[in-house]
């Protein structure tokens, strides 16, 4: 089983620089199940800006799920909140931090099949 593609997390961190997800501080740890093995990723949020590392401080919120779900959520193929409601992801701890993070995930694909997220994109 392939591990989580780190570029998805790096892209998320880059988006947070472009548009900080509000004034949140805290550490969210993604515990990614890769065929029985758990890979942890720490997303440290400082004033909405996210940095990614394999090891971080004490997490305020731990999100668990398998690699396929994380991949789908981070690439805009699945919605994070729906995945949580479905039990495909589970969050423990300060849920508000997960809510802040999900702002940085991509949106569902549009009619053209591509994610419609894009912070610079405008209506006109």
């Amino acid at each position: 089983m392939e591990e989580l593609d780190q570029s998805l997390l790096d892209a998320l961190a880059a988006r947070s620089l472009e548009r900080p997800a509000a004034a949140f501080n805290g550490v969210v740890r993604f515990d990614v199940d890769v065929g029985g093995r758990t890979d942890s990723w720490c997303l440290t949020i400082v004033k909405g800006v996210v940095t990614v590392s394999r090891k971080g401080g004490e997490p305020d919120c731990v999100v668990t799920g398998d690699v396929a779900t994380f991949d789908a959520v981070l690439s805009g193929k699945a919605n994070a909140m729906a995945a949580l409601l479905r039990g495909a992801l589970a969050a423990q701890g300060k849920f508000i931090l997960m809510t802040a993070l999900q702002r940085l995930f991509l949106g569902s694909p549009g009619a053209d099949g591509l994610p419609t997220a894009g912070y610079a994109e405008r209506q006109s």
Partner: protein, 705 residues
């Protein structure tokens, strides 16, 4: 089913019949619900195989009910030797104290059975009668009955147990009870939400037997909530009752979002809408600001953290957009519905800025305004960057999710609510008029916050300039000259959708109305075509689609009227605002102080009582909030700087109105109002307010004779 009995605790609630039984069909909203999912669809009590007959129901609290029952379901009351009491309280499921009393001189042996089952329906499925895709399971272990449902990783469970010995099978619990003469037998039944939305197996209940008092799942108990609200005294008794009812119902409608445990915002209504809504939570928070500003605070924080951040067509989401509705059921979980959350509301975003400013004006909480600066700026940017779908500088709406998105994204969201005078329906995108008022108000208020709190005068200048420009254009483009009112909407080609509707009142509230046009607008609102004697109709009589029992095309909405009255006061029409308050407050008396969502637009003289619109949602948050906003407008409460200004204008028939300990940036302040009571006829006090004709007009007529 006989009349529904409803008790609730946050978004967990029970709807049963009058004997406490639940016998739900797929389309029937009875059962135990939590997070938009039914956790119990069958709950039937029998004694020796017989159903029970209700004698009475005591609504002890909004979260607690007591049912008095006797055996036999015949219509003729037989001198029963047995009676049964079921006392039920909601909290993390529900707790039921079942007591059987033997009134006979001989001992009895009884078989007492509770039948239980669950369909785990999503509220959306209950509404639309859809089929389930997962599988059910039932297990009996260690005296506990577990009802379960699984679809992939989605698991929901209900755990049922009792304190007395019983035999448990897959369809229920059976007790063999021996009851001595004039003695009683009892057991506690626990119905716990075993696996819920958080996926956590808790199964713990918040109510224990013999606990001193059942407590709702609220950090703030009902008593504290009532204590902290301003106290009201008035020489017109119905208002006291309505005020009390409003406060209790508002307490019941408090909902704690997952992201902010321990904080509460107003959910939209029971039973269908026990969740966070952008529009409903904001407008109710506005109505309740002088009474419970915590609701506004939580609303602003929760909607702020969920503010849209990307383009997502399925959810009609844009960056900066404030959500419409959040849901937690199975269909949302599998993305068969877009409510995780859904953003298809076009008014919530400007209203978010309006609430933020109004909240600061009352509370002086600049800390929150600073914390939410980014959200407020994003909301203001959304108005210009994403909402201008007609390309003419006005907010308009058109859904991108054609399948399950909302067609009408303003508060009048039914299919025929927006029409031409002759009844024609306009195309999309639609720019309804009140949206432009909200946008104007948001820019003006945003400018104030930018100047006072964010210390960004350049941004403030820009917003003020934009607001002034919007107001100028709006008064040119929406004004129906020959009729002297604002068109309900504008089409993409610039055509005025020229029906005369109550939206004009919201325009007064927003401040977008040119002073020179305000008198004509107020005259329309108070005209016989619009004002029925009870309130202002959503659509004026004489318009093509007018129907006194049409949802948004002729009925009267208490919440709508409370904002219309606020608008009238804003432009100095005190007496008119008081007349609207009088009509709706009179109507409230017919519903024991609990105003329905809407009632018929029939002429008051014709029906003598307000005809309730058939709706399943009661209490409804913004109807509950309406009397609170009327109190504000009747007393003329307005925060100016660090002071609370009081400028009362009471309806005829109220001689004295006192609202004590109004919380705000000033600490606590009292407001007193004295009315023009007719001293020759003190007996009129306590009568209906709105039937007393406005003094001025009557006298004028007589003087002319």
């Amino acid at each position: 089913m006989s009349a529904a009995v409803k008790i609730l605790d946050g978004n967990t609630f029970v709807v049963s019949d009058e004997s406490g039984d639940i016998e739900a069909s797929l389309t029937d909203p009875t059962g135990l619900f939590s997070f938009d999912t039914r956790f119990l669809s069958r709950w039937i009590l029998t004694i020796d195989g017989q159903r029970l007959n209700p004698l009475s129901v005591d609504d002890l609290q909004y979260f607690e009910t007591r049912f008095f029952l006797v055996p036999g379901t015949g219509t003729v009351y037989i001198d029963a030797k047995l009676s049964v009491i079921r006392q039920r309280a909601v909290g993390g499921g529900f707790h039921e104290e079942l007591t059987v009393l033997n009134h006979d001189d001989e001992a009895v042996d009884l078989e007492i059975r509770i039948e239980a089952a669950c369909d785990f329906a999503d509220l959306f499925e209950v509404k639309d009668a859809l089929k389930k895709q997962g599988e059910y399971y039932t297990t009996v272990d260690d005296g506990r009955l577990v009802l379960g449902y699984r679809r992939e990783t989605y698991v929901r469970e209900t755990w049922i147990s009792a304190t007395e010995a019983c035999s448990v099978d897959e369809a229920g619990l059976t007790f063999e009870a021996h009851v001595e003469p004039h003695e009683q037998w009892s057991t506690d039944l626990h119905v716990a939400i075993g696996r819920d939305v958080k996926g956590v197996t808790s199964g713990s209940l918040k109510y224990e037997r013999h606990a001193k008092k059942a407590r709702p799942n609220m950090e703030l108990s009902l008593e504290t909530w009532l204590d902290e609200a301003p106290s009201l005294d008035c020489d017109w008794d119905p208002l006291k009752r309505t005020y009390h009812r409003s406060l209790v119902d508002l307490a019941a409608l408090r909902f704690s979002p997952l992201s902010l445990p321990g904080h509460y915002l107003p959910a939209a209504g029971l039973p269908w809408f026990m969740t966070m809504f952008g529009r409903d939570s904001i407008l109710t928070s506005l109505q309740a600001l002088p009474f419970a500003s915590e609701l506004a605070r939580t609303t602003l924080m929760a909607l702020g953290v969920w503010q849209g951040s990307r383009r997502d067509d399925f959810r009609d989401e844009d960056p900066g957009r404030i959500l419409h509705e959040m849901r937690f059921g199975e269909m949302t979980a599998f993305e068969e519905r877009p409510h995780s959350p859904y953003y298809g509301s076009v008014d919530a975003t400007p209203l978010y800025v309006v609430l933020l400013d109004e909240y600061e004006r009352w509370t002086g909480d600049t800390k929150l305004v600073r914390a939410l600066e980014q959200q407020a700026r994003a909301a203001l940017a959304w108005i210009d960057d994403y909402a201008d779908l007609q390309g003419n500088g006005y907010i308009a709406y058109q859904r991108r999710n054609e399948e399950s998105g909302l067609e009408n994204q303003c508060w009048k969201d039914s299919w025929d609510s927006i029409s031409y005078r002759d009844g024609r329906l306009p195309g999309f995108p639609r720019a309804t008029c009140e949206l432009q008022g909200y946008a104007y108000d948001a820019k003006v208020r945003g400018a104030r916050l930018a100047r006072v709190v964010w210390k960004d005068p350049a941004y403030a200048d820009r917003l003020e300039k934009e607001a002034a420009d919007l107001k100028r254009r709006f008064n040119r483009d929406f004004w129906v000259k020959e009729g002297e009112y604002y068109a309900i909407a504008l089409e993409a080609d610039g055509s005025k959708v020229d029906a005369l509707a109550s939206n004009n009142g919201h325009l007064l509230w927003s401040g977008i109305v040119d002073k020179s046009k305000a008198t004509a607008v107020a005259r329309h609102l108070m005209s016989p075509a619009m004002y029925s004697g009870w309130g202002v109709r959503t659509l004026a009589e004489g318009q093509g689609r007018y129907n006194p029992i049409g949802y948004h095309v002729g009925t009267i909405w208490p919440f709508d009227n409370s904002f219309i009255a606020w608008g009238l006061r804003r432009y100095g029409f005190k007496e008119e605002a008081a007349r609207i308050a009088a009509g709706i407050l009179d109507a409230a008396e017919f519903f024991d102080g609990r105003l329905p969502e809407a009632f018929g637009g029939y002429e008051r003289e014709l029906t003598k009582y307000p005809v309730q619109y058939p709706t399943s949602c009661s209490p409804q948050a913004w109807s509950t909030g309406a009397p609170l906003l009327f109190l504000r407008t009747m007393l003329g409460l307005e925060p100016i700087g660090d002071h609370l200004v009081v400028d009362p204008a009471l309806p005829q028939g109220i001689g004295r109105l006192e609202l004590l300990d109004i919380p705000g940036r000033w600490g606590r302040r009292d407001a007193f109002g004295r009315g023009r009571l007719d001293l020759e006829k003190p007996a009129r006090r306590g009568a209906q307010l709105g039937v007393i004709k406005p003094e001025k007009k009557q006298r004028k007529g007589k003087a002319a004779e």
